[in-house]
Each structure stands twice: as structure tokens, then as C-alpha cells.
Subunit: 358 residues, 2 copies
């Protein structure tokens, strides 16, 4: 077995010990005589997995009883639609921040449903960034305000998450559980699972009960947050194996500690940004004050050199460094499970590559 | 390792060799240095898995180029809503057959969207059954007609699938790929994956291109069939690992052969029905002509005896025999991957149990 360093933006690297545990339990989960994939979602064995997944998230996010945790298939992309379908009715307006590709996608889906105010727009700016304090023009009486905490493609991240009068909703797909934050500032937080939480196949939604209660009741059952809340994400068969992997991944994170993880994430990112800043060959894509700890993005002097960088890196086991097809460049995604040794290997490779081609 | 006989209705038993392959490839998929869970859905390694999953389904279902195969998260339950959202517009009517719990759920979701005609209703009849030839009152000009090919809870199955003037749509969640059928009679077939196809976490939708083209274009992107067709189920991150497991499971089925599998399914079911019919202690739930080959349902003289049957069976490694909570009784789900030896063990147990308690 030879594992590579996988810088993919998502699906992304998972902790090796989590994969090994999943492997060892694949055919017979803890003496049940079944794989987790095979067991009834109404049985006791699965119920314990479901509970652990929720409780680990509650513990790591410091949730009070005011919040529910639900598991919804369809990733963050379906959340872009469910959020306005549930809350953005006729005559109402929602605030959105256009901070990059993902913020723009959330806006596009909301506009199919209702009225959107763009509170701030830095979507297409280069260097990439997030809005500055005071830059957002929030709408009085908005039903909610939506931000993207980390733009995976541009490599920009909110460092001081805003506080808003309207219920604040965040797409945290690419930085949830990478750092502590105060959930009490948010009415809802959602995240596709495939970066810091587990494999692709669902979104985790953390939602304040009073906010959820105001949702549209006339929607199809599977598109209402209230269905998932009332039925504990078991109205229909949930993605049991994805939830199992999330339980293992969050168990691993609890053991490591969120504060320790945050410290390690900052250190990993700092090593890459230091390598970028130490050279005029590499140029960081994001403004320094908004540099993401999860997705480090930079350019080389030419696109040809970028292509060569990606392909030479792959040859030495540094995979997935190609920037998103919409923007090009280089992107190193270094989520929680990405090991420090892989960052060190990339820094060394960057120095070598510059020596040869710089 | 000691595997039990798992009669769960879904999630359900998977082929042991498929689970063993998944186990062996968990940490390093074919020398890629990554788990399938960790790899980019835009990369070449995953692309081959995605293609195989689709091609296996195309081969097994005998699809012509007129049909697309797509993977949609949310299970059959989300399909209950997506189908009418896409096709049942203002001033239109769709025909539905109420044949049991699942047919009724499809009707309930369609009524939230548009006008429904119930073409036949045997939902609450005991013994359970499907409509007889000529019993369905189809609506001229209906946008589609919807049936449930196998009612998992009641244990009734269409033996002669109907032909309709309107585009025919079938929920085949619990019997897809258990028997051959002529796809050309259908505009669309969908199935939650967690019975005959793989683990829970998505639905497979087979849809005729001209039918799909008539869909509502104003829906949120993730709720339009056209999105999944146009983007090859890769508009957003698909449930990669579920698709991988489906590729392995359909590869296993291709090796076995669909005709052989159908023969084995009929034989397995016949053994259980023969055991039921040989005794006055057990009473089958479904009318004989509609007995399901996938979900065999029966009653004992009292609910106490049923509870005892389930618990004694569990002690000898026959698990998941409790009927659905909405109807009680006993249910043995014996999908493709369920081994004949497990059926034989259940038949022997039934005889013993009757001797002791009958």
C-alpha cells in the first residue's frame, strides 16, 4: 500500500485511521454479521451510529438544545435551493454576499425562488477576497442573510465572521470544523460532507429550531427542513454509510481536539503562504488578510508552467493540485485530514521546481 | 467473521464478494494511493467507475440510446416529488395506481404539485394485491401514468407490467434487476439503490430522452432531470462511493446473468411460499397471483407468536424478519444478493417453530 498526498478540493483526503477502521468493519460491523451498508436504518445497531454522528457534531460545534442537526442528501447544491424554498416567500427578501463561485451559485438558485439583495459583491475581484467590515449593505427585515464562509475555488475565507440582524445562514462546506466559531451568531449552517466531514453524498445542516419553525409548510415532504427535524433525518432511508463515515471522522476529530486542529490548520497554511511569499515566481491569489487556511491558491508566471507544475508534482505523489477549471492556477486543499508531512513535501517541491524553471 | 442471514427490506444484504472487494480497495484503490471516497469526481480514476456503473446498468436493462441513466441523491422519496415537479404542470393530470404504501406516498407527493387521477386503488385490501388486467381507468391525455412494480411492505408485485398510452413511469425500487422487463414500455423507471443495486444514498433514474425534454425548465437546478442528463450526473459532486458500490454490484450481477438471477429469485420465493402453503399455521398476506419474489409476507395466528417468531429466528442468525411497523406480521426480503442457503435455513426454522408452537 502506498498512499499519496491528495490535495483534492473535495472529495478529499480522509484520516487513514478512519479508512482502516471502515475497512476492518466492512464485512462484519462489530459482530453484527452485517456491513453498515446492509443494515436496517430502523435497527438498534444503526441507531447507535446515527446518534454518535449527531452527538459528535453537537459536541464539536458546541450546540445548545436550540439547534437541530440533520442529514440531507444532495450536498450543498441542493441546500442552495432548499434554503430559499423554505424561507424566501412572496414579498420577502433575502440578503446574499457574492464572494466567489459558490456564493454566486447560492444567489442563482435563490433568484429562481424569490427576491435577492446582493449585500456585497467581490465575486470577480482578483486578488480574491471577502467583504471588509462595514462593506455589506444588509436589508432591514430580510428573512435571512447568506454568506459563504470559505470560497473553495478562490481561496478566500472570512476571518471575522459577520454578525447580522437578520438570521445569518452560512455555507461552511469547505471550512466547517476547521476552526471554532460561535454557533449562536447563526440561524443555520450547512456543509457538503466531502471536505472535512466524510465522503460525498450528503450535507450536514445545523438549524435553530425557531428559524426552522417559520419554514414553508406547503413544500414536498423531502424538501422541507421540518421533515428532517421531526423525523430525526429518518423520514426515508438516510445515506447510512456516509453518516457512519462522518461518525468515525468526527470521533477522530474529537480525539485530536478542535482547538488543536485549528492550530495545526493555521500552521499548515502558513507554511505554504510563506513559501509563496518567499518567492517572486509564485503569486498568491487571495489578498493576505483573507487567505484561506483550507484552500491555498496561487499562480505561476505562465499557464504552461502551471500545467508542468501540476504534472511534475503528480509524479512525486503530490496529487490534485490543479486549480478549478473555472480559474486555473494552482490550488492546494489542505483540510483537517491532510497531514503536515504532505505540506512539507509540497513546500520542498515548490523550491525545487522554482530552481529548475524559475 | 460470522455473517448472518439478513432479511432486511432495505438497506439489504449485498454480495459478500462485493463487500470483500470494497474492503480490499478501501485504503488504496487499484494503486491510486487513495480511497474511492477521497478522489476527485472530475478525475480519470473516478470517471472510469462512473462509466462502468452506467454501462453495467445499460447492459443489464438493455437500454438503447433513447434512454439516459442518471444518479440522483435523495432516494425514491425525492423522486416522488421530482417526477411531478418536472412534468405535472398546471392544467395537466397524471395517473397513479394506489397499490400499497409506496404507491400512496407517490400519490401524496404528486398531489402537492398538481392534479392526480387514481387509476386503480387496491391500497388497503387484505389479502394484498396489484390491479388486475383491465382494472385501471387510465386518463386520456395524462402526462404520465405511475405504477409501483413491487410493494415492499405488502409483498405484492405486478407480474404482467401494464402497457399504457400515456408515458409509463415505474417506481422499481424493490425489484429492479430482479427480472428482465422491456424498458421500451416505459418513459421512466426509478429505484432507490438500497435493495438490489448497492447501499442507500441515491436513486437510479432511467429516463427516455424525449420524455425528459418536456420537463419544466423553471425549477431549481438540482431538481431538474435535465441537469443530471446534461451534466452526466456530475453537475455537483455525486455520491461517488455509492456509485462505486453500484458498479461492483452490477458487475457481480452481469457475471451471474440476469436470466439466471431471475430463475434463482423465483426459486427462492417458491420455497418460502411452499412452506407457507404447506401449513395452516402460516397465512400468506398477498393473493397468490401477485405474490412478490422479493418480499415474502405472511402472518401467524397471533401477534404474540409473530413477535416470538422474529425473536427466536434472530437467535439462530435469521435477522430482519419483522414486518413493516405499519402492517405487522412477518416479512422475508430476499433480494438478488440473498443466498439460497438462507432461504433453506428459514424454511427449516419455520417447520421447527410450527412444531413447537403450532
Amino acid at each position: 500500500m502506498s498512499r499519496i498526498y491528495n490535495f483534492s478540493a473535495g472529495p478529499a483526503v480522509l484520516p487513514l485511521e478512519v479508512l482502516e477502521e471502515a475497512r476492518d468493519e466492512m464485512v462484519d460491523y462489530k459482530g453484527s454479521g452485517m456491513s453498515v451498508m446492509e443494515m436496517s436504518h430502523r435497527g438498534k445497531v444503526y441507531a447507535a451510529i446515527h446518534e454518535e454522528a449527531k452527538q459528535n457534531l453537537r459536541d464539536l460545534l458546541g450546540l445548545t438544545d436550540d439547534y437541530d442537526v440533520i442529514f440531507v442528501q444532495g450536498g450543498a447544491s441542493l441546500q442552495f435551493a432548499m434554503l430559499p424554498m423554505n424561507f424566501l416567500g412572496e414579498g420577502k427578501v433575502a440578503d446574499y454576499v457574492a464572494s466567489g463561485n459558490w456564493g454566486a451559485q447560492a444567489i442563482k438558485q435563490a433568484r429562481l425562488v424569490g427576491q435577492v439583495n446582493v449585500a456585497a459583491d467581490c465575486e470577480k475581484e482578483i486578488p480574491t477576497r471577502m467583504p471588509r467590515d462595514g462593506e455589506c449593505k444588509w436589508t432591514p427585515g430580510a428573512v435571512y442573510a447568506h454568506i459563504t464562509s470559505n470560497e473553495t475555488i478562490s481561496g478566500a475565507q472570512w476571518k471575522n465572521l459577520p454578525k447580522t440582524e437578520a438570521p445569518l445562514v452560512a455555507d461552511m462546506s469547505s471550512d466547517i470544523l476547521s476552526r471554532p466559531f460561535d454557533i449562536r451568531d447563526f440561524a443555520m449552517v450547512y456543509a457538503g460532507a466531502q471536505k472535512n466531514l466524510g465522503p460525498a453524498g450528503m450535507a450536514v445542516v445545523v438549524i435553530r429550531k425557531d428559524f426552522a419553525a417559520a419554514g414553508n409548510k406547503a413544500l414536498p415532504t423531502m424538501l422541507k427542513y421540518s421533515t428532517f427535524i421531526d423525523k430525526d433525518s429518518l423520514y426515508n432511508t438516510p445515506p447510512c454509510y456516509s453518516i457512519y463515515m462522518l461518525a468515525l471522522t468526527t470521533r477522530w476529530l474529537k480525539k485530536f481536539g478542535l482547538a488543536n486542529m485549528y492550530r495545526r490548520n493555521v500552521e499548515k497554511a502558513a507554511k505554504l503562504y510563506a513559501a509563496i511569499d518567499a518567492s517572486s515566481f509564485y503569486r498568491g491569489t487571495a489578498l493576505k488578510e483573507f487567505r484561506s487556511d483550507m484552500n491555498v491558491t496561487w499562480r505561476l508566471p505562465t499557464e504552461d508552467l502551471e500545467a508542468q507544475f501540476v504534472s511534475e508534482a503528480k509524479k512525486v505523489g503530490l496529487d490534485g493540485l490543479k486549480g478549478h477549471r473555472s480559474v486555473g492556477g494552482i490550488r492546494a486543499s489542505i483540510y483537517n485530514a491532510f497531514p503536515t508531512e504532505g505540506v512539507d513535501a509540497l513546500v520542498a517541491f515548490m523550491k525545487d521546481f522554482e530552481k529548475k524553471f524559475g
